[in-house]
Each structure stands twice: as C-alpha cells, then as structure tokens.
C-alpha cells in the first residue's frame, strides 16, 4: 500500500505539491488526474524517493521512503515520466541489468523476464538498441522494467503516453490483470483511461487535492454525468 501524509514540495517559492495526504490499498488502481503542471509527476517522484519532500512523508508497504529508502524501493515498480532508459543498450541487455539490480535469480528470473517480454510484445526488438525503437516500444520497455520484479506497488507516470489505440488497450488489460493483489497508481490526463482501469480517482490542481472518489462517484457530481465536465469544474 501507499500512504502519503501532508506531502509538500516547494521549489524555491513555487508550491508544486501542497499538503497532499492520500492512501491506496492493495487491489486498488488509483487514477491520478490533474491538468499539466498540477504536481502529479512531482508527487510520484517523491513517493518513488527520487526527490525529497519539503514537508510531510510518504511510505510504501509501511516503509518510510525517507528513512528506509532501500526497503521502500525494493517493493516498488516505477515508470518515470517519459520512460527514461539507457538508449545505447539493447532491450535484452537493459532488462538483464534491471533484473540484476532487482536481484532476480534462477528459475524465477527467467520466468519473470519471459513474462514481461511476452506480455509487452518485446520479442521482435530484443536485440535492438533502445534508442532505435519507436516511442511505443520505448514506453513498453519502461513498463517491462517497472513490473519485471513483480512488485507489490506500482507507480506509473503516464503509462500509455505515445502508444497507439491497440497498445493502449493492451496496457490497460495488463494493468487490470495484475491489479488484483497490487497497489497501483497511474497518472494520466486521458479521462477515458480512468473509466477503463481505475477503481478510484484523485484529482489534483495547483498541488492541492480537489477530489477523491470512484469514477462513478465523480461522474455523479456533474449534471451531465460526464467525467470531463467534473474535471473541468474541479480543476479550474
């Protein structure tokens, strides 16, 4: 599970994230919504331990990110914004590198690598260097990296960005499949995605939490019953 308490990030006077407290439980797929610049990526980076909060704390499966970073990071799978990787590496080499860092060994390692390669359809590009791949493949390599160690908690920053409709559908199915026993947070600005995969959604605007509800609950807030209208009214 994920828990944040009064999470705040102040970039030299610019309040990017403002007193954000929320939690997500196993089995939940939490949609993280908000206009560009609302603080989604900053929040995810703080939970993943890549940047330190100005105030407040975040924990993953009970491990405080600031005081037990290694324990927190080892149960987390994280897809950073833009799915950065090492461009000069081959897909196979890169996944091996991550499996090494995640200390996967023996039969389990092979099973997991086969699973992510098959599930994200990476076989045809295994021996290609990542920098030569299309945006869609790069994103899927990033996803493979995030789930290869079968983490209890997944944080995915715009997992379907740059994918075509078929691939988007595939990734959503994958998320639905693994969601049962995991805690998943995905950020997106595609509202249809919330309907498709999320069990709950949080909307943040200017760093503040403005709505926290199920997709159905959110929709009922607007007379039109459309998520888009709710989003516009709370995020404005």
């Amino acid at each position: 599970m994920i828990k944040t308490q009064n999470l705040t990030k102040n970039y030299q006077g610019l309040l990017a994230v403002d007193n954000l407290s929320f939690s997500a439980e196993p089995g939940e797929v939490l949609g993280f919504l908000g206009p560009n610049g609302a603080g989604k990526t900053t929040t995810m980076r703080m939970i993943a331990g890549f940047i330190a909060p100005t105030h407040g704390s975040a924990s993953i499966c009970g491990h405080d990110v600031a005081t037990e970073p290694l324990a927190a990071k080892s149960v987390l799978g994280y897809l950073p914004e833009g799915a950065p990787t090492y461009g000069e590496m081959t897909v196979a080499g890169f996944l091996d590198f991550i499996a090494d860092l995640r200390a996967l060994g023996g039969e389990h390692r092979k099973t997991r690598l086969d699973y992510v390669i098959g599930r994200l359809q990476l076989e045809p590009v295994l021996q290609q260097t990542i920098e030569t791949l299309s945006k869609g493949f790069k994103r899927r390599v990033g996803l493979a990296q995030a789930i290869v160690h079968d983490p209890k908690v997944l944080i995915l920053d715009e997992p379907t960005d740059g994918l075509d409709p078929m691939q988007k559908h595939e990734v959503r199915t994958l998320i639905g499949e693994i969601a049962r026993e995991k805690t998943i947070v995905i950020s997106t600005h595609i509202l249809e995605e919330v309907d498709a995969v999320c069990t709950r959604a949080i909307i943040i605007a200017r760093g503040k939490l403005v709505a926290d509800d199920t997709p159905a609950g959110l929709k009922s807030r607007a007379p039109s019953g459309r998520l888009e209208d709710v989003f516009r009214s709370v995020a404005a």
């Binding site: 970039y11 030299q12 980076r45 993943a48 331990g49 890549f50 940047i51 330190a52 100005t54 970073p69 290694l70 990071k73 080892s74 987390l76 994280y78 950073p80 914004e81 833009g82 950065p84 990787t85 090492y86 461009g87 000069e88 590496m89 080499g93 590198f97 991550i98 090494d100 860092l101 995640r102 200390a103 260097t129 990296q145």
Partner: protein, 264 residues
C-alpha cells in the same frame, strides 16, 4: 556491495557500445606516443626507463580524463536515466562508486595499451622493471584522482561541456600547484614581500618561513608532487594514501551533491 559491480559492468559496456571509447583510446595512445618519443626523447636519452612516458601523463590526463568523466552524471541528468537508476533499490553511494570504477577501468585499459613502450625499453636495454611497474600503478591511481574530481564536477551540472571545463580547471589547479614554475614563483613572491624595507628582521624571517610553509603546503596538495616520486619508481605509501584520500573525498562529495539535488 553487489549493485556496485552490476553498475560498473553496465557502464563499462556502454563505453564500448559507442565509438567514443575507441576514439578516446586512439587519441590517448597517439598523444602519449608523441610525447614519449618526441618531447620525452625516449631514444635520444639512451636510458632504459619509462620516465619519458610518465612525465607527460599528468598533462595528458588533464585534457583527456575530464572528457571521460564529464558524462558520468551530466548525461544521466540530461537523458533522465538518473531517475530510473536512483529509484532502483541501490544507494547513491553505490551508484557513484559503480560509475567511477567503470571510468577508472576504462582509463586503465587505455593506460595499459601503452605497453609497447615498455616492451621497447626492454628490447633496447635493461630497465628496472620493478620501477616501471610502480610507475604504472602510480599512473593508474593518479587517473583515479582525476576521475573522482571529474565525477564530482559532473554531478554539479546537466551540461557536459560545463562538466568538462570545471573538471579541467580543478584538475589543472591541483596539478599546477606542484609545478616548479608555480612553486618557484610563489617562493619568489614571498621573498619579495619579505624584502620590503619596513619589516623588522624577525618579521622578515617570519614572512620568509611562512612563504615556504605555504608553498610546500600547496605543493604537497598537488597531484604532480605526489606523482613525481612514483614515476621514478618510488611507490611511497604516503603518495598512494594521498591519491586514495583524494578519490574517497571527491566520491563522497559527488554523493552529497547528488543527494542535495533531490531536495532542491
């Protein structure tokens, strides 16, 4: 410390995945060759030792090592891969050491490829091979000190050019501080100040010895001073310890700088 080895292996492979590594090694070998045989006059000296090779190494490092170290962190920040790396279950220190070791091994490979010079002096004469080995070990350790400074400068910025220039300047200061031109100049400066007429006799001596103390102190911090003993074949523990301390200090500073960027 297993993550260190994993990171070192990945980094080292990535050097050779692009032509950069080969270009670097060729340029390094061409320049050391030119310096050894023309400037150093390996043949003309009619002495079977590797001094002509080692003598120019600090100056070679000055230009070439920052070219290796500039990408260490600046590139990771630029491409965003640092976010991927530092959210893996590893510590910043492990990443710093892993990347440093890869760069060190890489420069070590370039250095080892100067072995034909060693063979040459063995063919032509009867060199002290123990001294030559000590020189190589010292040259390798000194490369580590240059790289550690470079790692720290690379952690400061997203820009590889800035990382190169900063590493060049800091390494140049650290090298030049022990260059005879600088130490002579510094001594002369203090002698000049001491000769001013309004000092009393005791004051004059005080300034003179303060000048010597400062000059020796600064020279003592120099890469060059510590390498000069080693290249003659004297592998003194104090010189080795000095370079080891420089390496550890700048790697710790790299770690602190990288961690500080998290809370910026």
């Amino acid at each position: 410390m297993k993550p260190v080895g994993i990171i070192t292996r990945r980094e080292l492979a990535s050097y050779f995945a692009t032509p950069v590594a080969y270009v670097f090694i060729i340029i390094f070998l061409v320049f050391t060759g030119l310096c050894t045989f023309y400037l150093g006059g390996l043949f003309e000296r009619r002495q079977a030792d590797l001094l002509p090779l080692f003598k120019f190494l600090p100056w070679m490092y000055l230009f070439l090592v920052p070219a290796v170290s500039m990408r260490l962190w600046a590139e990771e920040h630029k491409t965003g891969s640092i976010e991927l790396l530092l959210t893996q279950p590893i510590t910043t220190w492990q990443a710093v050491v892993g990347k440093f070791l890869a760069a060190w091994i890489f420069v070590g490979i370039a250095l080892a490829l100067t072995f034909p010079t060693w063979i040459t002096v063995n063919v032509l004469g009867d060199p002290d091979n123990g001294a030559a080995l000590a020189g190589y070990i010292g040259a390798f350790i000194m490369a580590g000190a240059f790289l550690a400074v470079g790692s720290c400068m690379s952690a400061l910025t997203n820009n590889q050019v800035i990382a190169f220039v900063l590493a060049f300047v800091v390494c140049a200061l650290a090298t030049l501080a022990g260059y005879t031109l600088v130490t002579d100049w510094s001594r002369a400066l203090f002698t000049g100040i001491a000769s001013w007429s309004f000092w009393g006799e005791g004051m004059r001596e005080g300034i003179q010895s303060l000048g010597n103390l400062l000059t020796d102190g600064i020279a003592g911090l120099s890469f060059l001073t510590h390498f000069e003993n080693i290249m003659k074949g004297v592998l003194d523990l104090r010189d080795v310890l000095y370079f080891a301390l420089v390496i550890v200090f700048f790697l710790l500073a790299s770690t602190v700088l990288l961690d500080a960027r998290k809370s910026k």
